[in-house]
């Protein structure tokens, strides 16, 4: 039995095909999100990669920001439930998930089955999200994926206190103008993100294993800062971009199983 999970975000589209809810057959990531050709293409390309047709897929679950506008999806489930399931599948010891995405931050507590026990999301504010880091990277004239390397070379983090992205921008500029190195400033930015996310996370409680996922989880600098802030071991999820789609595919499989049991 084959199921597909589709995760359509604001900046990228991801799809995963799983067999019997236990093996990943194929996956695909397209750097275009909702409102573009991305969703359509990611479905086509993941089928191609698996050498399958749409007819081979028994159930499709869509998740993510653009989940409601996927024709052909059998169901849409929130990214909280899907990420929880996906990360837990990839790392069964997971009990708390910290997902720092492009536009929002989620902290999710899961039980031993990967079911959501509690969750919290950021308030109406970009601080601590991938967007925040994009703005900062622009100011520092570097690429977002260079931030990690830069902070690694820091001698001492320069504190960046503003939580407001706009204020933080001017704060970073002032610190650079004052002669602080880019490396030290980036370390300060990472601390700022970590602090913001940690504060949110503590509201639901951070029970180990704490696992980070989402685009920003690929930034070692932020992960390191989170470890320091929370004073606990933090793992990063394997296949961090695909966790939503994996979870969706798993939940799709669960749905079929339930339907079959009901019919039996």
């Amino acid at each position: 039995m084959f199921t597909m999970g589709i995760d359509i975000g604001s900046t990228s589209s991801k799809a995963v095909i799983m067999e019997d809810g236990s093996k990943i057959t194929a996956s695909c990531v397209i750097p275009f999100g909702t409102g573009t050709s991305g969703p359509q293409r990611v479905i086509e390309e993941v089928l191609q990669a698996a050498d399958m047709d749409r007819d081979n897929i028994d159930y499709i679950v869509a998740t993510g920001y653009g989940r409601r506008s996927i024709p052909g999806a059998d169901e849409q489930i929130s990214e909280i439930t899907c990420h929880a399931r996906g990360v837990h599948f990839l790392l069964p010891s997971t009990r708390t998930i910290i997902d720092i995405g492009g536009q929002d931050v989620k902290v999710i507590r899961v039980d031993e089955n990967g079911a959501v026990m509690n969750f919290v999301m950021n308030e109406k504010c970009a601080a601590g999200t991938g967007r925040f880091l994009e703005v900062m990277a622009r100011v520092l004239e570097c690429k977002v994926d260079e931030l990690s390397m830069l902070s690694n070379q820091a001698k001492q983090a320069v504190p960046i206190s503003s939580t407001c992205t706009v204020f933080a921008e001017s704060e970073v500029i002032s610190q650079l103008a004052a002669g602080n190195s880019r490396e030290d400033v980036v370390a300060g930015i990472h601390d700022s993100v970590a602090r913001r996310v940690a504060s949110l996370g503590k509201r639901v409680g951070l029970i180990p294993d704490v696992v980070m996922t989402g685009g920003v989880a690929q930034n070692e600098g932020v992960v390191k800062a989170m470890r320091q802030e929370l004073k606990t071991e933090i793992k990063t999820s394997p296949l961090p971009q695909l966790t939503g789609a994996v979870g969706a595919a798993l939940l799709a499989y669960q749905k079929i199983q339930k339907a079959q049991q009901a019919n039996a």
Partner: protein, 405 residues
């Protein structure tokens, strides 16, 4: 003329007194005394009369921010679910309750809470939380907001009724009868201190201004914490004498002062340096603040109704006309060239009348007004760059106005 070489400077004395005050407070429980946490313009005389040691969480929170320790406390409170939007004094204090120590040292935990909402309604919510969290009794002195020029009789009736109720509560908590003798004496001392406090800052009307108005944010600690005992009377006599001596000698804080400024609101405790520097560099002196007037609490000590009226009278408890007239009066009496209003994220009571106040004051007096965004204890809400820009604009407006004359 006072020989200032043998008398200590007020700046040093207030530091000593505050150190003594905290040391005494931290010994209070050992010495079998009760500790109360109190709001800044509460009638502390009731507590002084019963030998209860008073601690001011607002004061402590300000000190924590001044010592750059507020972020730590804010993080703790926010992790508990307290929104970033609520008053930063409350968040810092609620964080301190969990941490038990701070960059500004420790204060003893309270045996009771004494909350007076003349300053705002936030304190009511904050103290409710403290009462449940620390499981201690809360004495609430509700001084209703006044829409009228004069408080109404039934409002005063209510307040006096609460005073009487508070006395009963104190007797219950302490197990002792209320000490009316000492209370009367405290009221006398209170009035003396308030009078001296007022007389000292009124000397700011002189040109050049004999003091740096920012120093009053330090001196304030004594009128808040010790009003009602001898220490405050001693200190404010000393302060007044010191300033009066300067006036007599024609001495100014900045001898060739160029600008006289009125500051409205709580300072940015975490960045006093930038406030001081932005004025000093321009030879500007803060000659007055609307804040200090709040503690000029004088009344007929034989009449609780008179005391009730006085305690209701601080400007955040008053209608717009009072705030406006008061500000215009200060500008005139202290010869102010400009006004800085702090749009303090934590103080909605002031903020939401601010834009209109600024417009009306400029219209009535012609004096330029700048509004700066920030917060009292939360450094994240303050941008030095933005502050500098606004202040610069203010001084340019003042210069422009002078040239036009």
């Amino acid at each position: 003329m006072t020989d200032t070489t043998t008398v200590k400077a007020a700046k040093d004395v207030v530091k000593e007194l505050q150190a003594e005050y905290y040391a005494e407070a931290n010994r209070a429980h050992e010495e079998g005394k009760l500790v109360a946490w109190v709001t800044s313009i509460a009638p502390r005389e009731f507590l002084e009369a019963m030998d209860i040691v008073t601690i001011y969480p607002e004061n402590h929170a300000a000190a924590i921010a001044a010592k750059k320790g507020s972020m730590e406390m804010l993080d703790i409170a926010e992790s508990m679910g307290y929104s970033m939007d609520i008053c930063s004094y409350a968040r810092v204090n609620l964080g301190y309750v969990e941490a038990g120590d701070s960059a500004a040292g420790k204060v003893p935990y309270p045996d009771l809470l004494f909350c007076c909402n003349n300053i705002c309604d936030t304190v009511t919510k904050w103290y409710e939380i403290l009462s449940r969290r620390l499981n201690v009794p809360l004495i609430m002195i509700d001084l209703p907001f006044s829409h009228f020029d004069q408080p109404q009789e039934h409002t005063i009736d209510y307040i006096v009724g609460q005073f009487e109720n508070a006395i009963k509560q104190l007797e219950q908590i302490t197990g002792k009868p209320f000490n009316y003798e000492k209370f009367k004496h405290c009221l006398e001392l209170s009035n003396q201190a308030s009078t001296l406090w007022k007389e000292s800052f009124e000397l700011g009307k002189n040109k050049p201004c004999p003091f740096n108005g920012l120093d009053y944010f330090n001196y304030m600690a004594q009128i808040v914490c010790s009003r009602g005992n001898e220490k405050a009377v001693y200190f404010f006599q000393l302060l007044k004498d010191e300033i009066a001596a300067k006036v007599a000698a024609g001495e100014g804080y900045i001898q060739d002062e160029q600008y006289r400024i009125l500051w409205d609101g709580i300072p940015f405790w975490y960045n006093l340096r930038v406030m001081a520097k932005s004025l000093k560099d321009r030879k500007a002196v803060q000659v007055a603040s609307t804040y200090t007037e709040n503690w000029a609490l004088t009344y007929d000590t034989s009449d609780l109704r008179s005391m009730a009226k006085a305690y209701m009278g601080n400007f955040t408890n008053r209608e717009f006309e009072f705030r406006f007239n008061n500000m215009c009066r200060i500008i005139s009496e202290y010869s102010c060239d400009g006004v800085i209003l702090h749009s303090n994220r934590s103080c909605k009571n002031q903020d939401f009348a601010m834009y209109e106040l600024a417009r009306q004051v400029t219209k009535a007096t012609g004096v330029p007004v700048a509004i700066v965004d920030g917060d009292q204890d939360d450094p994240r809400a303050f941008s030095e760059a933005q502050y500098e820009t606004r202040i610069q604009a203010l001084f340019e407006m003042i210069d422009q106005r002078r040239e036009a004359k």
